[in-house]
Symmetry: D2
Subunit: 365 residues, 4 copies
């Protein structure tokens, strides 16, 4: 079947490099293959609501350096378990995948490019099983997707975190303070680990290795005794205390049950250290600045390559596959090998060994 018309959507949290993908898919499809390209707005929501925009070489001009996604995204829209508020106020979920596939067909599309993380790819894979020709393009700021070495957006987030660490370090030294930086990473510690090593942190706490607060205090105290009464701590937002629970920081504004939730793990540790040590402790929660903004060159290039290879995969009928970076090549991986799975930091990973060898504490008991 010759492809004539393709759709693309972006799902889940935004990250830097999405526009590079959109532009590359559009240009490859039009310039090389003369296809039509349809942008489906706000992820799967747009597929359910028939909200689309034509994508052309002209309309994707100038978007390469832009953060975010010009076709919008949303965290909602699980087609197979769509949330609906019933008249009596309770929540129910329903399967709306048939609607989606009907719309896909009515739009006259021959292929759907699904750009997103493990949740989005899982929906994409189910759509594929249901008969919709899907190509997955991996996206997650946390770099925790199975099957690909790197996802775009990750390097940009690490760079933003390292820039912040450079700034916090000079303040920490000048004031002899303990500076804590909380970075993204609910399940995986890649951002914390890479930015912590690259930013010269003294302590890095990641979700995969429950921390012992006494070990953290000990490290800070040893540094102070050795003449360095300042320390830099990087904490992944999903880090948790040994024997403790994850402290989930409710995002401000989302109908909070209590302000207390505002303080995530970074502020929790700051509070504990501040009480136990005779040192000033300050915490910065980097938050959304890690997501947005102009991508690093690495992420612009990666997004462009993935977009182009996704178009080639479609051309060859390789549906149900994910385009993935392996070493220096983009390859194809079956969607079901990576959909719905998370790649966390193995406890004996080379990065962990490296961190500990150069004197970084991971807060291990």
């Amino acid at each position: 079947m010759a492809i004539k018309r393709v759709g693309i959507l972006t799902g889940g949290g935004d990250c830097s490099g999405l526009n590079a993908v959109i532009r590359s898919v559009t240009r490859s499809a039009i310039i090389k293959h003369n296809w039509h390209v349809i942008g489906i707005e706000d992820g799967f929501e747009g597929l359910l609501e028939n909200r689309t925009q034509p994508l052309t070489v002209r309309s994707t001009r100038d978007i390469l350096p832009l953060g975010g996604t010009v076709i919008g995204t949303t965290n909602k829209g699980n087609l197979f378990a769509y949330r609906r508020v019933l008249p009596d106020g309770t929540l129910a979920t329903e399967d709306r995948s048939k609607e989606a596939i009907d719309n896909f067909n009515r739009m006259g599309l021959d292929c759907l490019f699904v750009v997103g993380g493990e949740g989005t790819q899982e929906i994409g894979f189910k759509l594929h099983q249901a008969g919709c020709p899907v190509i997955g393009i991996p996206k997650t700021i946390d770099n925790d997707l199975y099957g690909t070495d790197y996802t775009f957006g990750f390097q940009t987030a690490v760079q933003v975190a390292v820039d912040a660490l450079d700034r916090l370090t000079t303040t920490g030294k000048s004031h002899q303070r303990v500076m804590i930086l909380e970075v993204m990473g609910r399940n995986a510690g890649w951002i914390a680990l890479e930015s912590g090593i690259a930013g010269g942190a003294h302590i890095i706490l990641i979700p995969e290795i429950p921390y012992d607060l006494e070990k953290v205090e000990e490290k800070v105290r040893l540094r102070a005794e050795g003449g360095s009464p300042f320390s830099i701590i990087v904490v992944g937002e999903g880090a948790r205390e040994m024997g403790g629970e994850q402290i989930v920081s409710a995002a401000a504004g989302t109908r909070l049950q209590g302000v207390a939730q505002l303080g995530g793990v970074g502020n929790y540790i700051a509070g504990r250290l501040g009480r136990n040590l005779d040192l000033e402790v300050r915490c910065t929660v980097l938050g959304h600045v890690q997501r947005g903004g102009t991508p690093t060159s690495f992420d612009r290039l990666l997004g462009t390559r993935l977009g182009h290879c996704a178009v080639e995969a479609a051309c060859q009928g390789e549906f149900g596959k994910l385009v993935a970076l392996k070493s220096l090549e983009v390859v194809l991986v079956p969607l079901d090998e990576c959909a719905g799975k998370v790649r966390t930091v193995p406890p004996g990973h080379q990065l962990v060994t490296c961190a500990e060898a150069i004197g970084i504490s991971l807060g291990r008991a």
Copy 2:
């Protein structure tokens, strides 16, 4: 009296450009005048405790691009009302200025360069009145010091805030969210106002103009109705609601009385907007990343100029003066004209008029 030996100290919160001042004072004093330069460590604390380090052309090499201050700083150390914990646990204050002046004399210093904000300059002015030859060099990240057009560190903080706004804007658009950025400025709204205008914010809330939350909501709602369901709000940390109190965000780690305090005004507004509007709202508190890190070229130049002019002022015996930038020239201003005073944003200031003329809401009732 020919000067032979001068001291320099940095007091209060650190900010970008302090090292440019230290380097410039050192180089001007040594290269041009062949003086000795003594760095007094950690502000007035070092003066009380005789902690100093010689500053030389060699020791100040390479510090121009560095954030922070190589001689340390502290928020403590009010010589005239020094806090001490009495044996029974209560706090008392005592006047330790005589000790400080004795140490100053014992160090053989002919002049003291005091780099700091209004609190630090007030102490400097009292020291000057008490017979110690002081030259003030203005420093405050908030740019709220009387007598000078700009203080170094301010432009760097504004640039950091604008970089963050650039990043948040693409995320806000992609997700159709209200993004709030809380920036520094406890009493003065300069950082919020300048970064908000330069960063393309839709709403700017500053301490000087109490905001009406209904007006803020109205603006967001009008934008959504006009097809822009995302908005960018910049909030100075000292902003307060009309008829309300300032919400002081306790810095994490400083022996918190309650976690509730962690949420400053940005998170407070996020919570309110999130409840009242059918939109996602997210708040980022920029915090200490505004203080540290490499200064912008403007702040490196300003710090260098002030340092040099302070040395010239000392050479001419102009003690009790502050070096100040007026238009394109550095001039001398009597210390008592600016010590202990804060320059806030006048309600009819040109920047306020400008902001409102281009459609930015200041949340006025």
Copy 3:
């Protein structure tokens, strides 16, 4: 006369901040005054050729962080001495100002905002004298315009140069090389002087102070003898040797008469130093990267303020004026006081004194 419709054009070389002006003029005019705004394309060329585009709040959305000018610019288009190639191949100039004014009237404009440097403002002033209501908005990357403390684009250029100096310095040290950076500034040395001081240069050569190459060599040699066999030299492109001519570097591609012209003053000095000193010398010509790209927060704010104040000036009928930054305020200055004049660095300027006091050589004989 109530204003209903205004035009804006940008002339001369582009610089960062032009879009901030265009956006601010457009928003102020529309949001506050409900005027129509017409963008005239490619400077005065568009006025002669009736090439315009309507400017709206929507069309100027998102342009604040963009370098360049969305309405185009050109170095051509002197209305009063317009160059034309005659049939026999010779060049002639003619006065086309009447055409321009006719077009202005036919467009139904009540005011023309002219954004440009001294050349462009001179044409604007003559148009004003010829009966066209003009408001000038000063623009020059070199900051050499009379009447205003700063022009936008200048701080961005200085920042780009300082970023380059930070990079060159580490290379220079690692290789023990003399690194030369040639920056913009054909007539005025402001960029060289400010970036050189802020970037920690050891030698700064500006057009206003003819340099003695022996003094330059002496400084480099003294540094090497003192244990620092690397030096950083910043050269303004208009710098000239004592008793010598300006070396004008022909821009590549402009129908070169000889490749020899490619080497500007930076490469000239590199060649001379390389022959005379036993050191490696490398020259980098920063060129157009100083012009383009996202403006610093300072330039975005300045552009926005000037745009807004220009609209207010028009509203009050203050034609024939230039909006100018004086200290912290934007004020109005008669156009003829600044048109066609260049503000160079006075030999005894505070910046010069400061540079020399901290040990920077200006290559003076």
Copy 4:
């Protein structure tokens, strides 16, 4: 044999990330293994001249974000063919490797970490064959070393080039100009290719694919006819015209035979295009700013990982090996597999295909 004392040297052109390696080797060796670490100054020169400095945790503090190399480097020093000027002025080469090995032994070193590109690794390999226990750490800004996916410094160079492209693009559009950026890459086009794709270039010329100037002109002309009278061209410095020679741009200051050499391939193409097209053409030669300055987070992390793994390799007696990044792991590769070889862009490489698919011209005939 238990290792007690190791040496490290950096050879060839500097690049960002060298200090991350030095710091990581030092910290791993001292903190984990309690070895002594000796920094050999200025590459192999220091080995011949017994110039060293002890490296400690303290002395390598704060160097992680710094560009360059704190132990110096040089392009000279081929131990096996050392250049010497004979009394009669002619040049001769001699084998000084025995001196080097004697010095190595006299310093009491048990291992030599050689950080450098293919030339430096070749010398290292020969030293290893001559009995000196060598571990290679790959370094080349061009990323053209065999055996490793990435070398540090490369991503930083690409980022600097992309930042420049972002700036040049806005200028190009505003003035409707052809902007050329000449980047590093004498033999390999990786920097040009990656930065060109990531920076949105329209034409990319690399050494591996001789360009046809008519095709370049055609592309520019087609764009202009399509309404885009501006184009961005990225040229690797080693690019050459079909049937032509490489135009080598003599570095300024190196005892030029003729100024004509100053113009490299970028300026050559600018001159040709300027003559043949009715468009303004401007060329910027990025030069040394690609080498120096603070490394990106990617390069800081890579340098740190390589340094740590090199120490582990030494610990396990794996001499004669190079530490190399393969996909996500650092592995060991025999030195002779990569010494003296250059990895250029294969004509059918995925990046080439990708570039052409999205409409970038590579100037192919």
